[in-house]
Subunit: 180 residues, 2 copies
């Protein structure tokens, strides 16, 4: 008789996913998130530390004192039950994808502004996409060194999306400039 894998909170998913590769401290996790998943899945200390405590209580991860130098430090490793819960979630095709994009909402309503102001909004949006593209290109070498299928592919998704965003802004800037 197999136990049904525990339900994972959103933050638990990134944490377990990262711990599946290697044991890490909360601080480590934050660092890895900021250099990889942050572009589509961020996490703050305010979520990470309490969630680590909860996951340990549930037995999905195990804490271990791992001081480095003279610094106090606790690392966590994923347990078998944790790995089961993680892979059960990854395998599950059900997913709610509520996206929120403030930039798109602005463009949706940009027709309320005068043409010059609307152009400025689109130019700012283009800048955002271009910046994201640049930041993703910076971390590309990291993702390219991944040992498993996944990180590089997701990064390529981000690159494609950002390129599309720039192109879309350019097209609409042209459209706005040719209006009237």
């Amino acid at each position: 008789m197999e136990a049904k894998p525990a339900h994972l909170s959103p933050t638990a998913r990134v944490i377990l996913g990262l711990l599946a590769a290697a044991p890490r401290s909360g601080y480590d996790i934050k660092g890895v998130v900021d250099n990889s998943t942050r572009f589509f899945w961020a996490a703050s200390y305010g979520q990470i530390y309490p969630e680590l405590k909860r996951l340990a209580e549930q037995g999905l991860i195990a804490a271990e004192a791992a001081p480095e130098g003279g610094r106090r430090r606790t690392t966590f490793r994923i347990t078998d039950e944790g790995r089961d819960a993680l892979t059960a979630w990854v395998r599950d095709p059900d997913l709610v994808n509520e996206m929120r994009d403030e930039g798109l909402l602005k463009v949706f309503f940009v027709g309320l502004l005068e043409r010059e102001d609307a152009i400025a909004v689109l130019e700012a949006a283009r800048e955002k996409y271009a910046e994201k593209l640049a930041r993703l290109r910076e971390i590309e070498p990291l993702a390219a060194g991944a040992d498993r299928f996944g990180p590089l592919e997701v990064l390529q998704y981000g690159l494609g999306m950002s390129e599309f965003g720039v192109k879309w802004c350019d097209e609409n800037l042209k459209k706005l400039r040719e209006m009237d």
Copy 2:
């Protein structure tokens, strides 16, 4: 001396934006959101009704009894101060764009699964993008009839993104199938 426009909560932004086009009831707003902005900015009744009350208290919108048939009904119209606050927000190039995409997180970790399971995850993701594409094509005529710049352009963004998503899944399915 001009008063600094009021800060707008996230939900206030959609509400004011939609009321800028025409007076509507809370129920109307929900309906319009569900047929237009929902793909990048959703809103539930639990947010809409309390927010309408707050916006009215702030003087950014004005309530008016507008029963239809025998049904009780309150519509809201945007005030001049409301319009100022709205356009100030649209014009402001500052925007925080924290996106969360559960599908991407799954793909990020999909290398933990066996190849067949990984393929199934990518196939499910492809389905999601294809469905979104289909739903956006359905509402395309609505957006095409917009009287202002904005809605159609944002819809085209959605179409482009979804098409890219399908393509990206197909490429990665090919990659997975050719692995080993």
